[in-house]
């Protein structure tokens, strides 16, 4: 493996400014585009800082193997995958335990918003591919997946809006809640939450945390994340409209 030249930084936030200059509640610049994989029934690319993720949807389509078929609804199956060169040290091909777990929680988050009972016995396959990883890849992937489903015309209760939040330390070691973690914050921060909501439903669809937070800190972070989610929700809707506004696709 590579030597990490980056030793632990003295602070991740100072005077309300994060290492990359963002404010605590500020998300990185995001770029969202649908229709990036023409072969797919729907697709989307999300770029968030240096993280870049593509989601492609195939389905509803026939489900193999047969013994996994559900008679009363479709199965939403996410495969989260990282390109071998998307990370600092080459990722070996094939899904590791981390990818399997992420695939599971993303599938579960999407199940809730897709109207699966309209497509009994079918599969709705969502392939989330990380092109470049710089923290918060699973939440970027979930945003892309949600948009790809919408792009595919799959009927949904709501879009899924996802982002990370966590706790960064300042030069005195005190913690501050921040949203949309980048690599350094993810590596060295004091808590890291992967979070997703269906804004119109006001429901939490993804919730994973590592770290060390008080319930109060969590509540503060979640408030900031809900606020940031509104902006992301708008971006998603904007991106989904784009092909029609340009009169193309």
């Amino acid at each position: 493996m590579s030597k990490m030249s980056d030793d632990k930084p003295k602070f991740l936030i100072k005077s309300g400014k994060r290492l990359d200059g963002r404010k605590p509640d500020e998300v990185r610049p995001m770029e969202m585009t649908v229709g990036v994989i023409p072969n797919a029934d729907g697709s989307a690319m999300v770029v968030c800082g240096k993280t870049k993720v593509i989601a492609a949807v195939y389905g509803p389509r026939e489900l193999h193997p047969r013994h996994q078929v559900l008679n009363h609804k479709a199965r939403v199956r996410v495969k989260y995958n990282m390109l071998s060169f998307s990370v600092e040290d080459r990722k070996r091909p094939g899904p590791g335990r981390r990818e399997v777990e992420i695939s599971k929680v993303l599938s579960e988050a999407l199940e809730r918003v897709v109207l699966t009972d309209r497509f009994p016995m079918c599969a709705i396959d969502v392939f989330v591919t990380v092109i470049q990883a710089d923290a918060s890849t699973r939440v970027a992937g979930l945003n892309a997946a949600s948009m790809a489903l919408a792009d595919a015309g799959v009927p949904m209760r709501d879009l899924v809006v996802s982002l990370s939040f966590g706790k960064s330390y300042d030069e005195k070691g005190a913690g501050h809640m921040v949203v949309d973690l980048e690599k350094e914050e993810d590596n060295w921060g004091m808590g890291d939450v992967a979070y997703a909501v269906a804004p119109a439903l006001n429901e939490i669809l993804l919730l994973q945390m590592d770290g060390d937070l008080t319930p109060e800190e969590f509540a503060k972070g979640r408030q900031m994340a809900d606020e940031a989610a509104k902006a992301i929700y708008d971006m998603q809707k904007q991106a989904l409209k784009a092909p029609y506004q340009e009169g193309s696709k």
């Binding site: 199940e111 439903l201 669809l205 919730l207 945390m209 319930p215």
Partner: protein, 256 residues
Amino acid sequence: MISNLEAKRIRDAVASGTRTDGRGIDDFRPIKVETGVVAKAEGSATVSIGGTSVIAGIKMNLGTPFPDRPSEGVLMTGAELSPMAHNEFEAGPPREDAIELARVIDRSIREAGVMDVSKLCITEGEKVWMANLDIYPLNADGNLFDAGVLAGMAALNTAKMPEYVDEQVVRENLKKQVPVAHQVVSVTFARIGDALVVDPTRDELEVSEARLTVGVCEGKLVALQKGGDGSLKPEMVEDAFKRALKHSQKLLKHLK
């Protein structure tokens, strides 16, 4: 798989503030912890929570440190949903349920800094102790998460270090404790309708909309994992935290 009738019974019970096994919404099943159950392991424990029973064991082996942490040992957690423990578990490589279980237990224990990995270094950058914690359900009736964390902690608390002599591991007459710095427990809830029941049985999990596991260490949250195809309401999460902190006190007593 449970019948529609049984599912309805469970939902109706919870809706009326109780549960089909007579417990209240916020009651754990009886807990039993036994340590030192496998002499071949450096540490071991069986834990039962009601009808759920798991066994955990530690083996200490030699390994290479991660390049970015050259002076730290490593803890690796594995879980296997052994087919002996439930009619629906299957033989074969671990599936996503087993992987999620292992990873959540791993994170709970690792993120709380339970093991003082700095004390597991033999030669910086070259040789460190690697602790393999493996967890197997013996009988699965829901809430494998909390039983697994408890069994893992009980095994770690009683684990002894082998000696490193002449470049080999000697496992006789173990005396030195494996360095444990903190105690962590997890508390798992299932959402059934608008209620969150604690310590769900397997049947309850099957009818539930979602699962939430909260890892707690010294009054703080150290791990969270939502599972299940449904959602959680924001207020449920706040509620779960309060209740998890309260339950954690009782669970910690089982770790002495």
